[in-house]
Amino acid sequence: MKYLALPLLLFPLTVLAADAEVTLAIKNNRFIPAELHVQAGKKIKLVVENQDAAAEEFESYELNREKVIAANSRGTLFIGPLAPGRYPFFGDFHQQTARGVVVAE
């Protein structure tokens, strides 16, 4: 099934210029970077790239977001526009290690 999806990767999805894009990686059940700086007051396209062999669920109460990212794949979600401040998030499937915070400034 993975191989069927591969050709899709050859055609990068068009990105709307208006949205700032930020990438967050998941590796060894941790978020990299653990502190994600974004511009306040702007809609952000957050690309979460899961490099692990295990699925993860990006979750944040503060951002009111929840999204499963399959193993070795990437998922996009939109956050904001955010008021300046700190918005913690975590990986629901590995809560001890997968923790991070979006800092809007």
Partner: protein, 282 residues
């Protein structure tokens, strides 16, 4: 192992609460046990398929595939729950009368029961596919043996099912006169909460606009990650920081279903029975 139990418990709990409410709401319908069973089995089978296709679904629609898929699943569930409540508004009395007879229930609701089976299948699918992904990752990470993963998951599943069973046991204690009123209210709240989730998903996928501001923030009062907050979230769509769109979807769904129920349940041309004797055709 207990980390596995907790996650599985949480996912199982969501589906189990819905099944508990539905099971109580269909009391007295002929063959409901079979249909509920079919719904659970179909949901479990489908959740494995969806879990396997997660990365494919995620690629759809410029990366908003997961949001659209989940929103569609929720949308169908909302429609089926609405159908159930509107159907119940006109058949509830008949069913309450039937449920009193221990012998054999004769109210046949084929369409109603297949709607119910579909709602249950979709609920199990939603929670099951996430659980399957989680457990597969746990097994793949080599930190735990298959036995540990399975026993942890089994424990969580049992816990979730027990709470759902307890809810059912509590609901069926409600006197029959009020039972279907109570379950209809629960179903109404459940459907409205799901509609609110649809709005959240569509905002997350950038399909619906978002002002960036929550309509209210009751995190300090009742956080969603507290036990009560989570229970209210699952059962009636409570949110500590909802967007205006979420609240709009919630309220609109609530009002539409309620109107449908009032319309369907309006007394027929013959006068409403006030005595205890149910109208029965010979």
């Amino acid at each position: 192992m207990f980390a596995a139990s907790i996650i599985v418990f949480r996912e199982a709990l969501e589906a189990a609460l819905l099944i508990g409410i539905i099971a109580a709401a269909t009391r007295g319908l002929d063959g409901r046990g079979r249909w509920i069973g079919i719904g659970i089995a179909a949901g479990l089978a489908l959740s494995l398929v969806v879990a396997g296709l997660t990365d494919v679904i995620a690629q759809w629609a410029d990366g908003a595939g997961q949001e659209l898929f989940n929103a569609a699943v929720l949308g169908v569930a909302v429609l089926m729950l609405a159908w159930h409540n509107i159907w119940m508004a006109s058949h509830g009395k008949e069913m309450a009368a039937q449920a009193k007879q221990v012998a054999h229930s004769v109210v046949s609701g084929g369409a109603e029961l297949s709607a119910i089976a579909l709602v249950i299948a979709l609920a199990v699918l939603r929670e099951g596919s996430e659980t399957a992904l989680f457990l597969y990752g746990l097994a793949a990470s080599d930190q735990l043996g298959a036995m540990e993963v399975l026993s942890g998951a089994g424990l969580g599943l049992l816990g979730g099912a027990a709470v759902g069973g307890a809810l059912y046991a509590g609901l069926v204690r409600i006197p029959l006169r009020w039972l279907f009123g109570a379950t209809s209210l629960l179903v109404l709240l459940l459907a409205s909460g799901m509609a609110g989730q649809i709005a959240r998903l569509l905002i997350q996928g950038d399909i619906l606009p978002f002002s960036g501001r929550a309509l209210w923030d009751t995190t300090a009062l009742l956080p969603v990650n507290s036990s009560l907050g989570n229970l209210l979230h699952v059962m009636m769509g409570y949110e500590a920081r909802p967007s205006a769109m979420q609240v709009l979807f919630y309220v609109a769904t609530f009002c539409l279903i309620l109107l449908g129920m009032l319309w369907s349940g309006r007394p027929p041309a013959q006068s409403r029975p006030t005595s205890h004797s149910p109208i029965q055709s010979a």
